[in-house]
């Protein structure tokens, strides 16, 4: 089985979010970048397939040279090779077109992505990618088993889960559940050494137009101070929630 794992390179979850250039650009000053947390679950599941059922793993990202540390980390975790499509990833449609182009020429059986990137929270690349490739697609995937050409996937739905039956080639947008937290992989020394020798190819982006453009960022208004209520004054809290906040 040939697996492609799509990696997005994002600010760490604890990052302070600030903007520069008149709020038109994200301020990456002092920001630590990581593999998108959902993509880590995807990669760990890919490793499971590789070890248990035999598979090759390619990791791919659309981004500038600055994203390469995330690809190297994925190689250190155990991916076999990496591809960077050399373009600024500003629009989900654009990214999906780029990924589709490479996927089409290389022919993968399974494409694993995260449910969403934690920076722009677009949740759009996986569905678009599957549509451009005309592959089967399962969103919000929390479990998958593959036997020959058939896949059984579990999808999270509002208030529960649903079991789906589908076949390869397949795009899965995953999250926790694909593997458990404790099964996430951390690169070890040997992996890091080996990763240096693994192929990381850089390919040029294809000509395609962006469909959206970021104009400006805005930070939420400062919150007013929290109103403290004494632990002995539960009636006071109920009164505030009823008469002031009007939520009960």
């Amino acid at each position: 089985m040939k697996i492609l794992v799509c990696i997005s390179h994002v600010p760490d979850t604890t990052s302070k979010i600030n903007f520069t250039e008149n709020d038109s650009a994200f301020d990456s000053n002092g920001v630590q970048y990581v593999i998108n947390p959902y993509d880590e679950f995807a990669l760990a599941r890919a490793m499971w397939f590789k070890e248990k059922q035999g598979a090759s793993i390619t990791v791919i990202t659309v981004g500038n040279a600055g994203t390469e540390p995330s690809l190297r980390k994925a190689l250190a975790i155990g991916a076999d090779d990496a591809i960077r499509i050399d373009a600024e990833a500003t629009d989900g449609f654009f990214v999906a077109k780029q990924l589709a182009e490479v996927a089409k020429s290389n022919g993968y059986d399974l494409i694993l992505t995260g449910r969403e990137s934690i920076d722009y929270n677009g949740a759009m690349v996986p569905g678009m990618l599957a549509t451009f490739l005309d592959y089967n697609f399962v969103n919000a995937c929390i479990g998958v088993e593959i036997e020959n050409n058939t896949a059984t996937a579990i999808k999270e739905i509002d208030g529960g889960s649903e079991t789906l039956s589908t076949s390869l080639p397949l795009v899965l947008a995953g999250q926790k559940g694909l593997v458990e937290e404790k099964e996430l992989r951390i690169p070890n020394m040997r992996g890091i050494m080996m990763a240096r020798k693994k192929p990381l190819s850089v390919v040029a982006a294809i000509e395609t137009e962006a469909t959206t453009k970021s104009v400006r960022f805005e930070k939420p208004e400062e919150k007013s101070a929290c109103k403290m209520v004494a632990a002995s004054d539960i009636d006071g809290l109920i009164d505030l929630l009823h008469n002031e906040a009007k939520v009960i």
Partner: protein, 319 residues
């Protein structure tokens, strides 16, 4: 020209999110000076949408769309968008909405903005405000394609009654079942889900163990609320993963969020910031959550919550 909204019915009935997208679509149709068209699939009371501003209601009633199939639904939306020459297609952020919207956008070659929280600030260029960086900021995004797909964030616009007379029309989609089929549904019926709830009661590690969750459940029951938890609580197996909220869990956009024994780590706050009113109960006055909360009680959950439950019962009986 038209604005098309997909008003999703669940077991024939419209959820709040469906009525919200219709209300929102009405506003955009007014901005653009066009008609609001609502698409329904196997809805039993499609006419209800006229009360929220739909001027034309397109009804698809097909057996092969009885159970939700994302690609099939997306293709149906695309067909109707083309037939109605829609400039804007609006889809809600339910789990089905999030599944369908990118497929629709790709099929229509349309730019897609998800997590949108307001009507366009400008229609020429078409610019919308959306949540980004897990609720830590907003992004103003311009969609440059002829057709625009908008994913409306939950509880961001609200339901607005706007009675109109609507024409109704039946439509038969050519969409056929995709290669993904449902074999089992595992859903507790009658339970309020985090996605739909007006009130969410959430517990953290401060509750010490799963045996104490009766407190959370009882409080949720008085309030008609959904229950949720912090990430370590689900990691420890005290509660199911589906209840984990936060940046890497479920997003919460309820009217009221009550956090009990949760410290308020940045990753937790990122997922619940969109809730309108936040109440925190925590023994530690220095807990970071108080900085993000609207109302706070410094106190022991095991003393405060039972009292809150009893007093709320009395309050509910009188109100």
């Amino acid at each position: 020209m038209s604005v098309l909204v997909f008003a999703e019915a669940s077991e024939g009935k419209f959820k709040k999110a469906a009525l919200e997208v219709v209300s929102y679509g009405k506003k955009i149709a007014e901005q653009l000076g066009t008609e609001l068209v609502a698409l329904t699939i196997n809805a039993s009371n499609a006419s209800e949408l006229a009360s929220y501003g739909a001027q034309k209601i397109i009804k698809v009633t097909q057996d092969n769309q009885e159970s939700f199939d994302a690609k099939c639904t997306a293709t149906t939306i695309k067909e109707v968008a083309l037939k109605e020459a829609a400039d804007v297609v609006i889809i809600d952020s339910s789990s089905n909405g999030l599944y369908v919207a990118p497929i629709v956008a790709a099929q229509l070659n349309a730019g897609y903005a998800s997590n949108v929280i307001d009507v366009p600030s400008s229609t020429q260029p078409f610019t919308v405000k959306r949540k980004a960086f897990s609720n830590k900021a907003f992004n103003h995004t311009e969609i440059s394609t002829a057709v625009k797909v908008i994913g409306l964030a939950k509880n961001s616009f609200g339901i607005v009654e706007n009675s109109t007379t609507a024409t109704e029309e039946d439509f038969t989609s050519t969409a056929t079942a995709s290669g993904v089929s449902s074999t089992a549904l595992n859903k507790a019926s009658g339970q309020v889900t985090i996605a739909d709830a007006d009130v969410v009661v959430s517990g953290g590690r401060g509750l010490k163990g799963p045996e104490n969750w009766g407190l959370i459940e009882d409080l949720a029951e008085v309030l008609g609320a959904a229950t949720a938890c912090s990430k370590p609580v689900s990691d420890l197996g005290w509660r199911p993963h589906a209840e984990h909220v936060g940046q890497t869990g479920k997003p919460v956009a309820s009217n009221l969020y009550i956090a009990i024994g949760i410290s308020g780590a940045i990753q937790h706050l990122a997922g619940i910031n969109a809730s309108k009113v936040k109440v925190v109960i925590n023994t530690d006055p220095e807990a970071p959550f108080f900085k993000a909360a609207d109302y706070g009680i410094v106190g022991d959950a095991f003393e405060v919550v039972p009292q809150l439950i009893e007093k709320l019962k009395v309050f509910k009986a009188n109100n």
